[in-house]
């Protein structure tokens, strides 16, 4: 990942935070909280004072029952939602200080996302789905073609490039989603229940693929899962309950 040499406003402001930033952390949160107001007087603390640090190149899983705050945590780290209080640092910068453009670049260039329901565009082919984030990042034609073909090969779908999502199995769809998440070669991969819709064999294949990518591209991976067998395959597991991290397990 190329670092921008000029110091941005977000960087300057971040330095004024005077928080205890771990220099080896790719992702770090400080007292991160998210409160949802349901109706007039009911408040739900989806995330309650979460402090975590994830090293560069680390593969971490987050486990916990439904409603424990796992997805909220991912959305906040991925800058898809704003915290009620606290801060998220990505590669040493507080995301709250980023302007719209910097946030867009963060989502397009630095973080790749995969989801339980794949979120492929149904009317686009495998090839086109993978190409999409590069189209948004305005990458030149040659580079796009090159990368799409490379990543489809990496996930083993070169022979499926003209297929529509409706013509693929669940495992294949998730592979397309993984290839898509790689298209801008992000430093971080965020995966929300990537095996949630797959049988055990396919699920394990997907996790193996994530492992390979983690090693090959030195990606930092943060994965939410319900499945203890899947969660245990990560280097470290954060266990969550009622919006809090209750345990950290080295696997």
């Amino acid at each position: 990942m190329k670092r921008n040499k000029s110091i941005t406003k977000a960087q300057l402001k971040t330095e004024e935070d005077h928080l205890d930033v771990d220099p080896n952390a790719m992702i770090q949160t400080f007292n991160l909280s998210k409160v949802y107001n349901m109706g007039q007087r009911i408040e739900i603390k989806a995330l309650d004072d979460v402090n975590i640090a994830i090293r560069k190149g680390e593969f971490v899983s987050v486990m916990g029952p439904s409603g424990s705050g796992k997805t909220t945590l991912l959305n906040l780290i991925g800058a898809l939602d704003n915290p009620t209080s606290g801060a998220v640092y990505i590669d040493g910068i507080n995301t709250a200080y980023m302007n719209d453009l910097e946030r867009t670049n963060l989502r397009l260039e630095k973080i790749g996302f995969i989801f339980q329901f794949y979120n492929l565009v149904p009317v686009l082919s495998t090839y086109e789905n993978v190409e999409l984030p590069m189209l948004f990042a305005d990458k030149p034609d040659d580079l796009r073609k090159n990368k799409v073909e490379r990543f489809l090969k990496l996930v083993g779908l070169s022979d499926r490039k003209d297929f529509l999502p409706s013509e693929l199995s669940g495992g294949e769809k998730q592979r397309v989603a993984i290839a898509r998440s790689l298209s801008n070669e992000p430093a971080i991969l965020i995966a929300d229940e990537p095996t949630g819709e797959l049988d055990t064999k396919m699920g394990m294949e997907i996790i193996q693929l994530l492992h390979d990518l983690n090693k090959e591209l030195n990606q930092t991976i943060l994965m939410v899962t319900h499945d203890p067998a899947v969660g245990a395959l990560a280097e470290k597991t954060f266990r969550m309950r009622d919006g809090k991290i209750i345990d950290v397990i080295q696997n």
Binding site: G78, L80, N119, P122, V123, S125, E128, F136, S166
Partner: protein, 278 residues
């Protein structure tokens, strides 16, 4: 300049006459018929069992018409929508868009993959039950997506995205992500997205399947507003109440259209009767 011989001039004149004839034919297109489906059949084979998902389906949709297809689960509703949207392929029959008086038009069952792709991107707007928004893109970017892929002019594109988000009542939410929007709001984004390339027909598969009653009525009102401004919509639904507000209701059972009736009731009346004025 080389002088043309009389023969060549005659031939060229004949050519021009021919093309004029062709053009006048083009003007005869019945703009009122946006879709005509003839004898559509589709069978799925799983192991030794074959299931007739669609049996001899015939239907027509006119411009500015809102048609609802109702029927139980497994009756073939989604298969039908997928075939009409060129996402699935029938075994036999015709699906013709923009039909002229002599019954000719764009028959997607005879098209190449490339032509089908063009149809899907430019002529058919698809809306699904689970919204299918791109979670890492804002409402604005999600609506812009099909126009970006179709390489539409950037200035026009930007204006259109904003206009469409205003039409669906999300003018103030353009920078929000799907996670920051309610289910009804996400569905409104997909409706705006389906309209971005000016499709001939909107195909909606259970558009209110995940929504509460109040939000369902809101979404249906958006469809009715679109219909009044000339859009043609085919909607598959479980909800027999909202179907009453469509112009026509087709009932699908075991892959066959078993009944067709006129509806066109006022959406507020439908719900008022149902809930006794509450």
């Amino acid at each position: 300049m080389i002088e043309k011989s009389d023969d060549i001039i005659k031939m060229e004149q004949a050519k021009i006459k021919k093309s004029e004839k062709k053009q006048s034919k083009a003007y005869e297109i019945d703009s009122h018929l946006v879709l005509k489906v003839n004898n559509l059949c589709k069978t799925y084979i799983t192991g030794k069992i074959s299931i007739q998902a669609l049996q001899d389906i015939n239907l027509e949709i006119r411009k500015g018409e809102l048609v609802a297809i109702v029927g139980p689960s497994g009756s073939g509703k989604t298969t039908l929508i997928n075939c009409l949207g060129a996402l699935d392929f029938p075994d036999s029959g015709q699906i013709i868009y923009n039909v002229s008086n002599n019954g000719e038009g764009h028959n997607i069952t005879e098209m190449s993959n490339r032509e089908q792709k063009y149809m899907r991107l430019n002529n058919i707007g698809l809306i699904f039950q689970f919204y299918n928004l791109f979670p890492v893109l804002t409402a604005y970017e999600n609506v812009e997506l099909p126009a970006l892929i179709a390489k539409k002019n950037p200035t026009l594109r930007k204006k259109k995205v904003k206009d469409l988000l205003k039409i669906v009542g999300l003018g103030e939410r353009i920078k929000h992500y799907p996670t920051q929007l309610s289910g009804g709001e996400q569905q409104r984004v997909t409706i705006a997205r389906s309209l971005i390339n000016d499709p001939l027909l909107l195909l909606a598969d259970e558009p209110t399947g995940e929504l509460d009653t109040e939000t369902t009525i809101q979404i249906m009102k958006i469809f009715l507003h679109l219909k009044d401004s000339g859009h043609s919509i085919l909607m598959v639904t479980h909800n027999n109440r909202i179907a009453q507000a469509a112009d026509r209701i087709l009932t699908l059972t075991d892959g066959k259209i078993v009944s067709e009736k006129k509806a066109g009731k006022n959406i507020d009346d439908v719900y008022n009767i149902e809930f006794g004025g509450h």
